[in-house]
């Protein structure tokens, strides 16, 4: 089971500033463990974000995104109290969904 994300969502004027921390190893498939064995690729592939039920961000990422990924984005036309739902899915099919309320 993947660890929860940390989501921060704050109105700044008429724009919501949304930032998210994800717990994920983001293995490139190129690293070797201390025993010299290649650690297989294991990384998030897809990230989606909705605000108040509407899809606002649909991302695809590769293993070049740093371990424990951090993303920030901004959304207009939303308001404090709206619910932000973020989901990631990785190349092994593991997934995690967390939510926060815009403050």
């Amino acid at each position: 089971m993947a660890d929860p994300m940390k989501i921060r969502a704050q109105m700044q004027g008429d724009t919501a500033d949304i930032r998210v921390l994800m717990s994920h190893p983001m293995e490139t498939g190129q690293r070797k463990d201390p025993q010299g064995k290649v650690v297989p690729a294991h990384h998030i592939q897809s990230i989606t974000a909705t605000v108040a039920g509407k899809l606002v961000l649909d991302g695809q990422i590769g293993a070049a995104v740093s371990r424990n990924p951090v993303f920030g984005f901004k959304v207009k036309g939303v308001k404090a109290g709206d619910k932000v739902v973020i989901t990631w899915v990785d190349n092994k099919g593991d997934k995690r969904t967390d939510e926060a309320t815009i403050g």
């Binding site: 660890d3 940390k6 463990d33 740093s66 424990n68 920030g72």
Partner: protein, 287 residues
């Protein structure tokens, strides 16, 4: 051993002379040379790092480990149903707020000075049923695992965010530990003749691009304390003060200090108490 004794003799004999000119720095004239080219790259690089440091600190994955540690502290139960609510970090059973910046300190129940990491592991063994030998098998995080106690340390440290360091120096053992720590700091040995002070004993020095705070001064000692436990960008895991000390001794070309040993507690007491009065900003992010 023979050599050491005769050297100590020399040390004793020369002390008389030393008393007269103790403060005269050694000067040995190398072949004549003008001052070499100025190190102008330095400020540029440091400034560039500083600019993005804020960005990195603002969203610090350390928070993920903080959350995990909080969960263990608040919800995990030991085999007898005990929990960390019974753990006294120096401010009373279960009190976490502000505890991190007031350790190392003397704990009467064990009759010794413990640093934060040592105390937290002590509690996790005592109340949650963790095995000390298991923790010693992997005391520090690596690419594949950040151990539970490291997450708990991150949580406890975060509970002292923006608080002033106030390491007690009242109990005789606390004072003694500080003084021994200072000696360890200045002790040169090993194949490279390094002490902690070789790199951390004067102002404005740098290894490669890495700044080296002068740990003898409060305003600088805080810079070494700041950001630990820290999220290590290389590898993406949390590292603690005990790890920092361990890896410094590795680079110092020393043998390895035992995890949670007296020597490390002493060194941490010296360093942390030197930073007393300075504000701790919580878990950080490290290169």
């Amino acid at each position: 051993m023979k050599q050491r004794l005769s050297t100590l003799m020399a040390a004793a004999v020369m002390t008389a002379a030393f008393a007269v000119q103790a403060q005269q720095p050694m000067k040995k004239a190398p072949p004549p040379a003008k001052a070499a080219a100025p190190a102008k790259a330095k400020d540029g690089i440091t400034a560039e790092f500083e600019k993005f440091r804020e960005v990195l600190e603002e969203d610090n994955p350390a928070e993920l480990f903080e959350a995990k540690g909080e969960d263990i502290w608040k919800h995990k139960k030991g085999p007898d149903g005990a929990s960390m609510a019974q753990c006294d970090l120096g401010l009373g059973a279960g009190v976490v707020k502000g505890a991190y910046v007031q350790m190392p300190r003397y704990f009467a129940d064990v009759g010794q000075v413990m640093d934060a990491e040592r105390r937290i592991v002590h509690c996790m063994v005592k109340y949650l049923g963790y095995k000390e030998e298991d923790i010693r098998k992997q005391p520090f995080s690596n690419d594949s695992k950040t151990p539970d106690h490291v997450s708990v340390i991150t949580y406890v440290a975060a509970q002292s965010r923006n608080m002033k360091i106030a390491v007690p120096q009242k109990h005789p053992k606390e004072i003694e530990t500080f003084r021994i720590g200072r000696e360890i700091f200045d002790y040169r040995a090993g194949p490279y003749d390094f002490s902690c002070a070789t790199c951390h004993g004067s102002d404005g020095m740098r290894i490669r691009t890495q700044d080296l705070p002068n740990l003898r001064k409060p305003a600088e000692a805080i810079r070494a304390y700041q950001g630990w436990p820290g999220y290590r960008m290389t590898g993406g895991f949390m590292l603690t003060q005990q790890w920092r000390m361990n890896d410094c001794f590795r680079q110092q070309r020393f043998p390895e200090p035992a995890y949670l040993s007296d020597s490390i507690t002493a060194l941490l007491t010296y360093m942390t108490a030197t930073a007393n009065g300075q504000v701790y900003k919580g878990p950080g992010i490290k290169r």
